[in-house]
Symmetry: C3
C-alpha cells in the first residue's frame, strides 16, 4: 500500500530545507511517497499558498496527507494544526493556509498539535516544517490516528476566496494567482457570470482602465495580442493572451481586484 | 515491479500543474515512479523540448512511459498521440515534440488518443497534460495495451535535428540547446567533422564573426576565457568556455546557426 | 526495504542532467528512492555545496547513499571517490565537497573509484555524475560492498568550516550560506559566543561597518527592519531580518567574513 504525502512551501529549491523535511518523513515512514506541489510560493504569501494548495489537492487520492508551510509567524504564538476532512488530512500553521483546500473537502475536525511525542525531540524556533509538521504528517501516514495529534479546537483562523461582488454590468473579483504563462486566474466562476451574454462584447475593468475581452473556449482561438476570457482548468475564469502574458499586458499583480462584464 | 514514468513540460515549478499531473497518475497507478526530466523548457518551444527529451530518454529503463507537454495548440485541432517504439511509449501532443526521441529508438506505431475511456471524464480545453496525457500514460503503466489508446495514424507531425550542411572548410549546424553552464550544444556530431584535422587551428563562424577554437578532451584543458570544442556527453559537439558561459561570450541563442571548421 | 539515495549538484533544473543521473540509478537499482537535496548550488562553488550537503545529511536515515557533484575538475586528474562513514556512504569528486558532511558522521575509509566494472561502459570526459558517480551509488544501494568500489586512499582533499577566531569583544567567522529568505548563515555556533552577554547590546561588524544587533529566539520578536542574531535550525548563528533579506540590508555575500560581539 503506497501512502502519498504532499509538500507546499515558500522555501524555494536552492536551500536544503525541503530535503530535510523529506528526510524526516522517510526516517519515520520509509514507504512514504512524497510529491511536491510547489516550493515557489511568494515568501510569506499565505493567500497565494492557500490558493495553490486548494487547486492541486482535489486531484490526489483519498487518504493523502498534505503538508503546507507558509509561516511568517513561526516560533510565535500561532498554533500548529492538523485539519481532518472527509478525504485527507492537512498539516501546517494556523494562519488560514490549509483552510480553503480543507473546506472544499468538508472539514470534520481541527486539532492543535500539542502531542509532543509525535514531533522531533528538539524543536527549533525557526523551522517547524522539519521539526513539527513533517514528523506529525509522517506519523499519520504510518498509522497514527488524527485524534492523537493533539486537542480539538474550534477557533482556528479562517480564510476564504469568496469575495465576489455583483454590479449592473458584471462581476467584481480578485486575482488569486498569475501563473507561469502570465494567465490571470480570478476567483470568479463561470456560474458567477449569471445572466451576462458571453457571446457579446465583454470588457475587463482594471485600475480605471477598460480592456476589450472575448470569451473563448481555447487559447488558440485568440488572435495575437488579443485578451481572452476563458473557463480555466480549475473552475475559475482566467484572462489569457495567446502565447503571451496577459498579466504583463494589463499590469496585474496577485491580490489586485478586477471587474469583468459587458462592454 | 516498479514502473517508471517521466514528465517533460514547459509548465515551470511555481504552479501546481505538474503536481496535478502526478496526482492523476498516482490515482490511477499507485505504484508509478515519476521522474521529472525538465519543466523549464522555454514556453511553447517545441524544438527545445524535443531536444531535451531525446537526450534524456535513452538512459531510462526499457518499458518507461514518457509524457511530454509543450503544447501551444492545446484545445485546437492538433491531435493527442502515443508513439510506441522498440523500448518505450511516448505520450503527448502531435506537434513533433515526441518524434526525435522516439525515432532514435525506432518508431513502431503512432496512435491518436481517441479512446476517451482512458482519459478524465471532463476534459478542460486548456490542460490536456492533466486530463488526457497523464491518465493515458498511467493506464499504460497499469497494463493497458498501446493499441487500446486509440486508432493508428500515419500522418503525424515530423521533427528532425538533422539539418547539418558541409562546406569546403567545415560544417554548418544549429544550436540545439544552451545549458545552465552556458555550453553551446550543436547538432553536429564528431562523425560530421569528417576529414577535418582537429589538432590544427579551428574556428567558430557565428553571425559574420570568427572565433578561434581549440579541440579539447575536457573543460579543464582550456585556459581561462578560451573557447573550446568538445565532444559532449550526448554525442554532439559543444562549444564551451572554462568555468564561464560560452553562449554569453559569443552572444548565441537556441536555434541560431553556426559553422565549425579550419581557421 | 526502501533504499534512499540523495543528489546534490550545481546542474540546475532546466537541463536533463539530473534526470539522466536518476535514469542510470533506476536502471541499476529499480527500488531506489531518490531525494533531491539541491541542484542550485552556485556553479563550481564546492564550498557552498559542501555546506548544503553537511546541513541536510544528518536528517536522512542510516544507510543512505549521498551523491554530490560540484566538479570544476571533471575529466582532469582529480579522482572520483567514495567516503564511508559510520552511517552512510558519500560518492563524488575528490575536491572536498563530501568531507564536512562525512566528518560529522565519522570517516571510516575513503576509496578511489577505480573499479571500472561498477561504472558505465563508456565514460564521457564531461559528465561523471551520470557515468561514474550515479552507477557506483546505485550499485552500493543494490548491495555492492564499499570496499568493492576501488582502492583505499589516505591523501584525499580536506575541507573545513572551522575557521572561527576570537577577539576581545567577540567572534569572527565566515558566511557559509545565504538562504532564499536572505538569512545570513555563519560558521559561528552558539557555544562560540562563550562568555558574551547576549542580553546586552550586540553588534555585527562587516566591512568596516557596524550594525546594531539583538539576540532573539524567533524571527517574529524582531521589529520591522531590525537585524537579529538567532540560533538557526542547524546549530549555527544566523543574522536575520523579519520578513526581509538581512543579506541585502548589509550587502553580504557567501564567503565574506564578519564579526559578532558586544557593541
Amino acid at each position: 500500500m503506497k501512502a502519498t504525502i504532499t509538500l507546499l512551501t515558500d522555501f524555494g529549491t536552492l536551500d536544503p530545507y525541503v530535503a530535510e523535511m523529506k528526510a524526516v518523513i522517510l526516517s519515520i515512514c520509509p514507504h512514504a511517497f512524497i510529491v511536491d506541489i510547489s516550493h515557489e510560493v511568494e515568501k510569506f504569501n499565505v493567500r497565494m499558498g492557500a490558493f495553490l494548495l486548494a487547486v492541486a489537492a482535489p486531484y490526489f487520492p483519498a487518504g493523502t496527507i498534505h503538508v503546507g508551510v507558509v509561516d511568517p509567524g513561526v516560533g510565535s504564538e500561532r498554533r500548529p494544526i492538523a485539519v481532518e476532512t472527509d478525504r485527507s488530512v492537512y498539516v501546517g500553521p494556523d494562519n488560514g493556509l490549509l483552510i480553503p483546500a480543507a473546506m472544499h473537502e468538508g472539514i470534520r475536525n481541527v486539532y492543535e498539535l500539542n502531542n509532543r511525542s509525535l514531533q522531533r525531540n528538539v524543536i527549533s524556533s525557526t523551522f517547524h516544517g522539519r521539526d513539527v509538521f513533517a514528523p506529525v504528517a509522517a506519523h499519520l501516514l504510518s498509522g497514527a490516528r488524527t485524534e492523537d495529534v493533539g486537542r480539538k479546537i474550534m477557533n482556528y483562523v479562517k480564510l476564504s476566496f469568496m469575495n465576489v461582488t455583483f454590479e449592473r454590468r458584471g462581476v467584481n473579483g480578485e486575482i488569486l494567482h498569475i501563473d507561469g504563462f502570465g494567465n490571470i486566474i480570478t476567483n470568479i466562476s463561470y456560474e458567477h457570470m449569471g445572466k451576462l451574454d458571453l457571446s457579446g462584447k465583454l470588457a475587463l475593468r482594471f485600475r480605471a482602465k477598460c480592456f476589450p475581452l472575448r470569451f473563448v473556449g481555447t487559447y488558440s482561438e485568440l488572435g495575437r495580442n488579443e485578451l481572452g476570457l476563458i473557463a480555466g482548468s480549475h473552475g475559475f475564469l482566467e484572462i489569457a493572451c495567446r502565447e503571451a502574458s496577459a498579466a504583463k499586458k494589463v499590469g496585474a499583480k496577485i491580490g489586485d481586484r478586477l471587474g469583468v462584464g459587458t462592454a
